[in-house]
């Protein structure tokens, strides 16, 4: 069985600036892995390449064994994603937005109706189902972003700062949802919040200036560096 996510030697330049430097990672099925690193480390770039929004300068990325660059649509059908700070069409409602995305992902009829109800209930947005998104706060949009990522019940979740913009209650709720999701799914998410990473994941990939500095169990890193925080600081020394 192919790996859930496989990254092989990903390198990406932005006008001469090296954002990803030969990054390689292997994430097994139902593993929960955090991509941790300081601002500008290359986390979002890696996730964008994985989701086919960007091409690497060199290297390969596979989702469920499918080459993202060669068969983007087939590869991406296994994924639910939140990237950067997503925005929604302000003049559509959550119901219309989820219906649109669900239809693009091949869902329809009662299955889609039921799933929309389920994810909106899970993300506590059921009262806002027919309100135009232009009236939503940042936190509500983030909840809707997670709802759309989980809509088609994908085996792989790729999430960039999933709790960004949420209030403390929202952060706890999202963490609980992700903890539940990781029992059946691969959760691969980028963050720079050590506490969040520790609570959601068992394994962490620490990157800095585009390079992989460590890829190990959090427990093992804690043991080696005496604390997770010290491990992070040591491995990202010199970062801004």
């Amino acid at each position: 069985m192919p790996d859930s996510i496989l990254i092989e030697g990903l390198t990406r330049y932005y006008n001469g600036f090296l954002a990803l430097d030969n990054l390689s990672l292997r994430v097994k099925w139902n593993e929960d892995v955090a991509l941790l690193g300081p601002n500008g480390a290359g986390k979002t770039t890696a996730l964008k390449i994985l989701c086919g929004l960007m091409r690497p300068s060199s290297g390969k990325a596979y989702l469920a064994g499918i080459d993202v660059m060669a068969e983007r649509e087939r590869a991406i059908s296994n994924v639910g994603a939140i990237l950067e700070t997503p925005e929604f069409y302000p003049f559509l409602t959550p119901d219309e937005t989820l219906r649109y995305l669900g239809r693009l992902r091949g869902m329809d009829g009662h299955k889609l109706d039921n799933r929309i109800r389920e994810v909106l209930k899970l993300l506590r947005l059921e009262e806002w189902v027919n309100v135009k998104i232009e009236k939503f706060s940042r936190g509500m949009k983030q909840r809707l972003a997670l709802a759309q990522a989980m809509l088609h019940d994908p085996p792989i979740l790729i999430l960039d700062e999933p709790s960004l913009g949420l209030d403390p209650r929202g952060m706890v709720e999202i963490r609980d949802i992700l903890k539940e999701a990781r029992k059946k799914k691969t959760v691969f998410f980028a963050s720079h919040l050590l506490t969040e990473v520790e609570q959601i994941c068992k394994k962490v990939a620490i990157i800095d200036r585009g390079k992989l500095r460590a890829y190990d169990d959090i427990a093992r890193l804690k043991k080696k560096y005496r604390s997770f925080e010290r491990a992070y600081l040591k491995l990202t020394e010199g970062a801004i």
Partner: protein, 270 residues
């Protein structure tokens, strides 16, 4: 799910987005106002009498339906940010990570823009036809040809706007670039060629003038009493050929749309 099914979904929701925006109703209101004002001024000022021309449904239709090209402005505003806004407003982060080809998204957006513009154009022509029936109890057959050219003009302008929308980072830049290209650059080239005695039949603005050339009245007949100046005249005051103009506009559509698809496919969410 086939890509054609996905195209239908994209078109449906892009169309819904167009309908939810104020700019659709703004473009509709401006076009209707322009047509109604032209009708009112034509009759109120007795335009044919002042120009020394015999009033006829063809001459009336020629002037009134020329206002339908106002809808082209609407087309530019619908299309200018169709692709660019996905990047500028970051909605692409929700739309693009889906199992749907970029070509499907662009074509779906294109169809939605064309349909939204077509609705405005058709309403403008229906008002013109209603006025013709009311004043003259007849509608010249040329109105259908005029509408066909207006619709093709909209298709070509939207294609051009899509090219700019695929290149520019912002929707406003793409909209302004399209308007400048169409209304300034092409007009200047067209004017220069006309002064030199060449008919710029291959330019979209000249071809678009054919919306008034389907009624069997030439520009020379309609505006024969007006002076063209020392070096003007010739192509500037001749009617463009409607059939040729239709195919010129079709050509622009067929060339620009694939270019915009190719550019949109290459554009990255950085």
């Amino acid at each position: 799910m086939s890509e054609f099914e996905k195209l239908k979904v994209v078109t449906k929701y892009e169309f819904l987005k167009q309908f939810r925006r104020k700019r659709f109703y703004g473009a509709l209101a401006i076009t209707v106002l322009a047509v109604v004002l032209t009708i009112g001024l034509y009759k109120g000022l007795d335009l044919p009498g002042r120009m020394g021309i015999r009033d006829s449904p063809e001459f009336f239709a020629m002037l009134v339906t020329s206002m339908s090209s106002m809808a082209i402005l609407g087309a530019v505003f619908f299309a200018g940010d169709a692709i660019a806004s996905e990047f500028e407003r970051k909605t692409g982060y929700i739309l693009f990570p889906n199992p749907v080809k970029r070509i499907t998204l662009v074509v779906g957006k294109y169809i939605a823009c064309v349909v939204a513009t077509a609705i405005i154009i058709i309403i403008a022509y229906l008002i013109s036809a209603g006025a013709l029936l009311g004043f003259y109890q007849q509608v010249p057959g040329g109105i259908l040809g005029s509408m066909a050219i207006a619709l093709m003009l909209a298709c070509s302008v939207i294609s051009m706007a899509f090219v700019f929308s695929s290149v520019f980072k912002g929707g406003m830049g793409a909209t302004i670039a399209t308007l400048l290209t169409y209304m300034v650059i092409f007009s200047v080239i067209s004017g220069v060629l006309s002064f030199a005695g060449y008919d710029p039949w291959f330019l979209p603005n000249r071809a678009g003038d054919a919306v008034t050339a389907t009624y069997g009245i030439t520009f020379e007949q309609a505006f024969g009493g007006m002076s063209a100046g020392a070096h003007m005249g010739g192509p500037m005051f001749s009617s463009p050929d409607p059939t040729l103009s239709f195919f010129v506009l079709l050509g622009y559509t067929v060339v620009f749309l694939p270019i915009s698809i190719w550019l949109a496919k290459r554009k990255e969410m950085i």
